[in-house]
Symmetry: C2
C-alpha cells in the first residue's frame, strides 16, 4: 500500500468539517471496547445503548471508567445511572450486532423491545442483555466532570461478573475473542479479532515468548 | 462451545489471587487500543513503552485520556509528560509487535535503543516511533487524580496527526485496520482485526445498512 502521509496540525484539525473531524479523531484513537450499556429508570423503564467509551481503570477494586457528554444520545443512560446508582455492561457479538447498533437510535420505547434484545435480571438492580456472553453488573462510584470539553467521567465498580467458564484460563485471562466479543473503530465500524500471540512478561534478558 | 457460566460477586472478586484478578478484570473490560507512548526527559533521554489505557475523550478539541498509576512501570512516562508537557502516541503493527512488547521491560537505557525502535522528530518536542503508520503528537492539558484507586488521568490534546493518506475516507473515517493497527485484550494478548461492517447512522425507521 502507498503509505504517503497526510499531516494535520492543531489549526488544520480545528478547521475541519465537524462530522469529518469526529470520524477522523474517533478513528485514530484506536480500537475500542464495544458494550451494550443497560439501565433502568426509577419508573421501571429499561434502556440499552451501544457504548464504546469504556475503559479499564483498575482491578483492585475492579473499576471501569466511562465517558459521556451531558447532552448526547446516552443522556437517558447517564440520568438513570445517577438516579439508580447501577448499570450493566454487556459485550456485543456478531449474532446481535445489527440490533445493538440500532439501539443507538432515538427510540420512544425501551430499546430492548424496539430492537429485539432480551432483558435478564439477577439480584443486580439493572437489566442485563441475555444475548451477551460476558456481562458485568456495576455500581456507581464517582462522577468526575471534565470542564475542558464538558464531558462527564463515570467511575463504576464491577459488583457482579458473569462469563462462560470455558474461556477463563488458569491465570484468570478471559479469552474474549473465543466468546466472540467484537471491537469498534471510529464511530460505527465493527470488527472481529484474530489473535496473533499472547506474550510472556517482558524482560530485559530475553525476547518475549508465546504463552 | 459450552457456554455454561461462571459468576463472580464483589466478594469473590476481592478474594481472588492478585495476578489472577488483574488478568480477569483487564480481559472483561473488552478490547483496547494499543499504542507506544513516547516522551523525552528534560535531560534529553527518550522513553517509549506500550500502553493500552488510552481512550477518546472528544473530537473538538481533539482530546484523549490516559490512565496511569503513580507507581507503575510507566512512571518515567508520567514524569516526562508532567515535566515537558508533550508526548506522542504511535499505533502498533505486527511488524514490530515483539519490540513494542519488550519495551515494557525495565530498561536502564532508552527503550528505543534497547528494543530496536527508531526515534523520529518533527517540530513536536516529543519523539515519534518511525515504524508506526499512525502517529499523534499531544500536548498535556490536564491532570485528574482519582483517589478511589490512586490512578492519575492525563488529558492530552492532539496537536499533530500523521497518517497514510490512503486510509482516510471521504467522511474522515480512517481505516486503521487497513494500516495494520492492532488491538490488545487483557494485559498481554495481541490481535489483528477483521472488519465485519460499517453501519449507517442508526434510525428508528429502518434497519442499518452497510456504508
Amino acid at each position: 500500500m502507498d503509505m504517503a502521509d497526510k499531516r494535520f496540525s492543531s489549526k488544520s484539525i480545528s478547521l475541519l468539517d465537524r462530522q469529518y473531524r469526529a470520524n477522523l479523531i474517533n478513528s485514530v484513537t484506536g480500537f475500542k471496547s464495544l458494550c451494550l450499556i443497560a439501565t433502568i429508570s426509577p419508573n421501571g423503564i429499561s434502556n440499552v445503548t451501544p457504548f464504546s467509551q469504556v475503559f479499564h481503570l483498575g482491578a483492585d477494586p475492579p473499576l471501569i471508567g466511562l465517558v459521556s457528554r451531558p447532552l448526547d444520545v446516552v443522556r437517558h443512560t447517564l440520568e438513570n445511572i445517577l438516579a439508580t446508582r447501577h448499570f450493566t455492561l454487556n459485550h456485543v457479538h456478531e449474532t446481535f450486532l445489527e440490533k445493538a447498533h440500532q439501539a443507538a437510535a432515538k427510540w420512544e420505547i425501551s430499546e430492548f423491545t424496539a430492537c429485539g434484545l432480551t432483558e435478564e435480571f439477577t439480584s443486580h438492580p439493572a437489566p442485563y442483555v441475555k444475548e451477551s456472553f460476558i456481562k458485568m453488573g456495576l455500581k456507581f462510584r464517582e462522577r468526575i466532570d471534565i470542564p475542558l470539553n464538558r464531558t462527564v467521567l463515570i467511575v463504576g465498580e464491577i459488583v457482579e461478573l458473569i462469563l462462560p467458564k470455558k474461556i477463563i484460563g488458569k491465570d484468570g485471562y478471559a479469552d474474549i475473542e473465543k466468546a466472540g466479543t467484537l471491537t469498534v473503530s471510529g464511530l460505527d465500524c465493527y470488527h472481529k479479532t484474530d489473535k496473533i500471540v499472547r506474550y510472556s512478561h517482558p524482560s530485559t534478558n530475553e525476547k518475549p515468548s508465546a504463552v
